[in-house]
Amino acid sequence: TVGAVACDFEGNVAAATSTGGMTNKKFGRIGDSPMIGAGTYANNNTCAVSCTGTGEFFIRGVVAYDVSCLMEYKGLSLKDAADEVVQKRLISIGGDGGLIAVDAKGNITTPFNTEGMYRASIDTHGTQKLDIYK
């Protein structure tokens, strides 16, 4: 699965996710990637989110929208909301994976709870980060 989130000069955010699914999948299985709210979500009032991991758990947790909701309804920061979802709520239902997210101020967060995460970002200072988290 691959994905991207961005904030432009106008403060508009967007998210995109694409996947080839899981090796040996059958029965027309789909994961969270194409599901708005589960694997992808964007709202200028909160954030843009793209997820990766075992999709079934992200669907059950409506993960991407959950991050947005915690910001909108509970007033959490982007980082606190994303950490709450990935490190607590997702784990509590047995979910593995992570997400990338950006808010309309250009703040970035990229939490995950499993290995093998391929990440890159450029923040509002122009600082580039690029790593494979093992």
Binding site: V2, A16, G21, S33, M35, G106, G116
Partner: protein
């Protein structure tokens, strides 16, 4: 300080020792950097966030290293089924596509659904019909073939197991 920012991801899964060689790691990082910079350049040039994320994902889809587009894994039937979605935070418009085959860049089709149709989510044969309507050309099966992905599939194709993106351990927690 610029307000613009972008982040990308290239999957999730277990990295088995010996599989991720130094050369491979360089290739992965180079591909990530190319996609990241392409998206960022759009933002720097006053482009919008939708176009930036589309371009970053499109580039990752064209790489055989990541499980999307060209690098998509094999299904139980030996085919490739791809999914993609996109959402615009400015107006909450969204587009998604699922269970499609032969489309080089599913993210472009998702974007087309968002911007050109009245719908949000198209799947399977209907989505393929819509792609055909928009003039999408289908890539041959060998465009999506990759030895590594094929061997991953061969290891488990006669089982009920399935594997996440970069997982190569047959009996891992993902299987």
């Amino acid at each position: 300080m610029k307000k613009i920012a972008i982040a990308i991801h290239g999957g999730a899964g277990t990295l088995l020792k010996g599989i991720m060689t130094p050369d491979k790691e360089i290739s992965y990082k180079k591909s990530l950097e190319t996609a990241l910079n392409a998206g960022y350049k759009i933002l720097e040039n006053k482009g919008n966030a939708v176009d930036a994320v589309t371009e970053a994902v499109r580039i990752l889809e064209d790489s055989p290293l990541f499980n999307a587009g060209k690098g998509s894994v094999f299904t139980n039937a030996g085919s490739h089924e791809m999914d993609a979605s996109i959402m615009n935070g400015e107006n909450l418009e969204a587009g998604a596509v699922s269970l499609i085959s032969g489309i080089k860049n599913p993210i472009l089709l998702a974007k087309n659904i968002m911007q050109k149709s009245e719908h949000v989510f198209l799947a399977g044969t209907g989505a393929m019909e819509y792609a055909n309507l928009l003039g999408y050309k289908l890539e041959p099966e060998d465009y999506f073939y990759d030895d590594f992905r094929y061997n991953q599939w061969q290891e488990i194709k006669d089982s009920d197991n399935f594997q996440l993106d970069h997982n190569v351990q047959k009996d891992s927690k993902f299987g």
